[in-house]
């Protein structure tokens, strides 16, 4: 490449990076500007901790915060073994031909619209949960939503995990093979530790999708506005809340409070990303 094209490429990439960083900052600023006056000086945290009861003038999101946290965390708990298992299968435990089929299927799954998952949830999963757990009431609960959500986020996680697996130096794999490692040992002792950064990224992306998804929780979590006491309780996520409130009116105090709701979601997501990064920091072997 000539120097000029190299320079141009560098400028273009820098600009695109700058634009996406600006977009993120802009969204944050927007939420801050619109959400803050309503929250008032220093009352942000007390507002978060309050219940949602517009009739009494209470606009707290504590129920939605717990709803989002519970549903997204639980969906990752379900999706992690599923995704990791799938990637391990594709990464040498399973036969090559079937692995390619699975790979294609996973890529196909990323393209399925969320609403389809929601439908499947309503017609297949919710009745099952209702029959299995009598305390789940209608079956619309945290468990149903997070199970369905785990199906939604798994393909994303699998794709990032697989990237991590594929980036492992083949010489390490060859060394392990030649030293008599079987396929499971190769996976545990060589591939997984080396693919770790990809796994952490995959979890972060999965968590981001889970927290940001609106439709599945809206359709099958039940949307009750109280702090859930168990995973069989109905719950409302921050995203469903925003959708529900903004669909019903646009001029009330309740409506204005959803800016603060968005802000909360933004912050919650940032905290989750930081937490996963911290937990996933590689302490492992010296290199």
């Amino acid at each position: 490449m000539t120097r000029v094209t190299q320079q141009t490429a560098r400028i273009v990439f820098f600009l695109s990076a700058a634009v996406s960083a600006m977009a993120a900052a802009l969204v944050f600023g927007f939420l801050l500007v619109f959400g803050f006056p309503l929250i008032g000086g220093g009352e942000f945290f007390s507002l978060l901790a309050r219940p949602w009861s517009p009739g009494q003038g209470l606009y707290g999101f504590l129920p939605m915060i717990t709803g989002t946290a519970a549903i997204s965390f639980l969906s990752i708990v379900f999706a992690l073994p599923l995704s990791l298992g799938t990637v391990c299968f594709m990464g040498g435990l399973g036969p090559a031909r079937i692995s390619r089929l699975v790979d294609g299927f996973v890529r196909f799954m990323t393209g399925i619209p969320t609403v389809i998952y929601g439908f499947l949830g309503i017609f297949l999963l919710v009745p099952v949960v209702r029959t299995l757990f009598t305390s789940a009431g209608s079956g619309m609960c945290i468990l149903s939503a997070s199970l369905m959500l785990s199906l939604l986020v798994s393909p994303t996680m699998i794709i990032f995990f697989k990237d991590g697996f594929d980036s492992v130096d083949v010489r390490y794999i060859q060394a392990a093979d030649a030293l008599g490692a079987d396929s499971v040992q190769r996976l545990i002792y060589v591939i997984l530790p080396e693919a770790w950064p990809g796994i952490v990224t995959g979890i972060i992306m999965g968590l981001g999708r889970a927290m940001g998804d609106t439709l599945i929780a809206l359709m099958i979590a039940g949307n009750a506005v109280h702090v859930p006491g168990s995973i069989l309780d109905s719950a409302r996520t921050l995203t469903s809340h925003i959708a529900l409130v903004s669909a019903s009116d646009y001029d009330s105090l309740a409506f204005k409070s959803i800016f603060a709701c968005g802000l909360t979601l933004y912050v919650l997501n940032a905290f989750a990303v930081i937490a996963v990064r911290r937990l996933g920091r590689k302490r492992g072997p010296v290199r």
């Binding site: 390490y172 030649a178 030293l179 008599g180």
Partner: protein
């Protein structure tokens, strides 16, 4: 040629994507000797070594016919048969590659790796085996004070000796070396040549080498891989 035969290759045919690399090869290798294999690039020297520890099997579209026997405890064992598992075979038939390939771990953990695979956990025993193998590979004095440092901190020659030591820790009977000195300077190469000659008492060695002077220094038998198969040099 007084040594008994250790490896017997019988009517071996091999191809990648239906392109034959070997056709109907018959060949014996003597025990406790160094057999050198030379020949032009791309003729199949590395492939041939991989047939002796079944490493080729991870390659797609590769196909082999024929038999490979090795003599273990007085018995001829078909390495593609059911009596010997692939991991066990690879502990009996160690391999060292063209570029040193330590794992991204400490020197100690590299050495302990093959033992960990067999489930050996007793620290005293593991340590003793590691020390012995490092001594056999002429490396002990250079690494004994830095066993828990990264293996990547070693020089190229030291890394290659670490890889030899790591193969030796499983007490292999056969050692395959694929151009083991081609990435090293002359000094480091000569240490490894001396080492290989010393290892004859423990193992049967097959060394792929480009360097004819190296072959004449260390080999008991030299074979040249030509288009039709192996020819004596």
């Amino acid at each position: 040629m007084d040594n008994p035969v250790k490896i017997r290759v019988e009517n071996l045919t091999f191809s990648y994507h239906q392109t034959p690399v070997f056709e109907h090869i018959n060949l014996d290798f003597n025990a406790h000797a160094i057999t050198a294999i030379t020949g032009p690039s791309g003729r199949g020297k590395s492939t041939f070594l991989s047939l002796l520890n079944r490493l080729w099997e991870s390659q797609p579209f590769a196909k082999m016919e024929g038999k490979v026997w090795i003599l273990l405890d007085g018995q001829w064992v078909d390495i593609y048969g059911k009596t010997l598992s692939k991991p066990d075979l690879r502990r009996k038939v160690g391999m060292v590659f063209q570029t040193p390939n330590p794992l991204p771990m400490s020197i100690y953990k590299n050495m302990a790796f093959p033992l960990k695979l067999t489930g050996m956990t007793e620290k005293a025993l593991v340590d003793a085996k590691i020390t012995a193998a490092l001594r056999q590979a002429f490396l002990w004095d250079e690494v004994k004070d830095r066993l828990h440092d990264s293996a990547f901190g070693l020089s190229g020659g030291q890394q290659q000796r670490l890889c030899i030591a790591r193969a030796l820790v499983s007490q292999p009977e056969i050692l395959l070396l694929d151009e083991p000195t081609s990435s090293l300077d002359a000094g480091a190469a000569s240490v490894i040549e001396d080492l290989l000659v010393r290892l004859k008492e423990r193992c049967t060695l097959i060394v792929v080498s480009h360097y004819l002077d190296q072959v004449s220094r260390i080999a008991d038998t030299a074979l040249k891989l030509e288009a039709r198969g192996f020819l004596p040099v």
